[in-house]
Assembly symmetry: C2
Homo-oligomer: 398 residues x 2
């Protein structure tokens, strides 16, 4: 991946697009809460959205329009426009329509994403009146403002940018994301926007993006499938792609790096988290089981509390594997913290407590759960749970 270079900053590195973020006062004053990503040239978009049956109005709108050629994404924080009924959808359409007029583009080429409180109608007049200001603020430099403008309970803005070289030249890719302060089975909205100047046909863009989200945003313990608003969108210029297979491969590598990095930033922002732990399931019976088990372990509150307490509680890990629904043979199951086995083929094993403690105190380490019955594996990224919550649990087992 030597052709891929990390860049300082974020969206402003991709100068094919313009950006804007302003203080609209949707729910609070004196904070950036309304932003815009704009391309004068039509783009292909690919998106991955929440699977929640109570999905927010902007998600419904995106699903309708994602296959159009896209010129703009309107984003607001502090109000999710979810569980707002017909009115909510009308509001989203009205705002994208007004924006399309100001930008002289087709209203169906405008996507929208929202995050914040559920069940409250958007202050649509106030937002409508802010759109001209938003459009007037469009610039390449303003890209630096967007990661902060989409935050809700996040404690720091999340952005990443890279350049990558292909046979057709040097390209850039940048992304921003927001998660939530608390990583746990909850409904924290996950928003992620990636832009690139590398042209990819839409069907390829969609499949590569879906694939990369599956092993990044969908492999962290913010349940991507839970929130009403989860939205991940990528934009790429709608030009005929002239790339060869290796070029697409390089783009795919860049995309995976981008999504893994953004996912890592989200997990790092877990409320009070002190650790970023990889849960790796190997030798599961099938791919579905591997993911199910990794998710179950990574999401177990008692596993996360044990991580915080530096408690090598492999029993909780085995238990979470046991209730994951994945095929499991206790006499084949083994559990490792980095390279140290604690449970081997169904029985506890003696281990060097000092060596283990060094691992447990690291900022990042890997828990490997070997099912020993197949060839499938999957990795989940998780965080520990902070002391306030774990008082009781972290101290229970040892």
């Amino acid at each position: 991946m030597s052709t891929i270079q990390e860049l300082a900053g974020g969206l402003e590195n991709v100068s094919l697009y313009k950006y804007a973020a302003i203080e609209c006062g949707i729910r609070y004053s004196n904070r950036l809460d309304l932003s815009l990503i704009y391309s004068s040239e039509p783009c292909w978009a690919a998106g991955v959205f929440t699977t929640n049956k109570m999905c927010a109005a902007p998600v419904i709108l995106c699903r309708e329009r994602i296959n159009n050629s896209i010129n703009a994404i309107l984003i607001n924080a502090t109000n999710a426009n979810a569980a707002t009924g017909k009115q909510g959808l009308e509001n989203a359409k009205l705002l994208t329509r007004e924006l399309s007029k100001l930008l002289s583009i087709d209203e169906n080429s405008v996507l929208m994403a929202s995050t914040g409180i559920i069940g409250v109608q958007l202050p649509v007049d106030k937002m409508k009146n802010s759109l001209p200001v938003l459009v007037n603020n469009l610039s390449i430099e303003a890209g630096a403002l967007l990661p902060r403008a989409i935050m809700t309970t996040d404690t720091f803005p999340k952005q990443y940018a890279i350049s990558f070289k292909t046979s057709t030249g040097l390209y850039t890719m940048a992304g921003i994301a927001k998660g939530a302060g608390m990583i746990a089975p909850n409904m924290a909205t996950l928003l992620c926007f990636v832009v690139t100047d590398f042209p990819v046909e839409q069907h390829i863009l969609q499949s590569l993006f879906y694939e990369s989200v599956n092993v990044s945003l969908n492999a962290i313990t913010i349940d991507g499938d839970m929130s009403t608003n989860d939205t991940a969108i990528i934009l790429s210029p709608a030009k005929p792609s002239v790339h060869n297979v290796d070029d697409i491969k390089t783009f795919n590598q860049a995309l995976h790096l981008m999504m893994k990095k953004l996912a890592h930033l989200i997990v790092s922002d877990a409320e009070g988290a002190t650790k970023c732990v990889t849960v790796k399931v190997i030798h599961a019976a099938n791919d579905g089981d591997a993911k199910k088990a990794a998710k179950s372990i990574a999401e177990s509150l008692l596993v996360k509390t044990a991580m915080f307490g530096n408690d090598p509680n492999w029993g909780r890990i085995a238990c979470a594997a046991g209730y994951s629904g994945a095929e499991l043979r206790e006499d084949k199951l083994s559990i490792y913290f980095d390279e140290i086995p604690l449970f081997k083929d169904g029985s506890p094993v003696e281990y060097d407590k000092e060596k283990l403690m060094i691992i447990l105190k690291k900022r990042e380490y890997t828990i490997t759960v070997d099912f020993g019955i197949g060839n499938s594996e999957f990795e989940f990224l998780t965080s520990d749970l902070s002391y306030d919550y774990v008082k009781i649990n972290a101290e229970y087992s040892t």
Copy 2:
């Protein structure tokens, strides 16, 4: 149910059995950790056990023996004898064998249940040596000690006793249970033992017991299906039953009351919980959906944190319903706190904030979620999450 009378105390009300609880020192000294329920006359047993694929040795043993005629249940706290491999099962069998010799009964008529730390072998010699003391302590009065002897992180002992009248006479039923300090999606072991002097044929006993557990212990947000050790057992004299249909009906009423009461005690013991809230799903498409949705809402950490914060956050409730997997039509969904609707047919509604606050501050209230698409309903009992944990979440939405 006027024929059913609540009794003071617990097991000691059912004098057909003898009980014992001693300090064996399995993991800590100076605490009751080994107990016994014994009947000189053979009993029918019915049991409901964890569905976790990593199930503990005593659960394996119980599944093998539950259909035998049963004379005794050996129970230990502080060590779960789970993830202990072959050795763990051998230890359980050895202890029940030794006990059976002391009681001059068939070793296959002895059941065992354990709770505590996972992955540590039982101190089997120490326990074996304590068995004679345990047997010597058998008495009816000692029944009062057992609810404390099976506790782990519970903050109070849980017992309930009733008498009920049928056409064949007056009978008694008593039960004890232990849950855990923290009610959340976790692996807290749930143990429950019920004894009665009312004879019921085994197949009837099993079906009635399963049915009652399904709407009680399996309808609270300790995930009964998660722990490696969850065990609920009922004992009834193995005599030919001479009861008529109404007698069985009365017994079934008594059993449901018993199990609901024990489930309620477990939820009341949620760590730092200030509330006991019923989540009632109605008009769901089918029974499976009704239970799925009620469980999903009752287990949502954000719903539980909102309860604690007296935050009428119906948005989190709608969201949890949305990701439950249950069939849902947003335009048919309504949400009530007791009698007050907050969300009606897919849209937020105005409500009397003062009236609502009175409900939210009650120790117990009901959240009703009306799916409006079918005829199935299910009730889940849950608790709020204590302040330590909810700092961030309870304050987020309002």
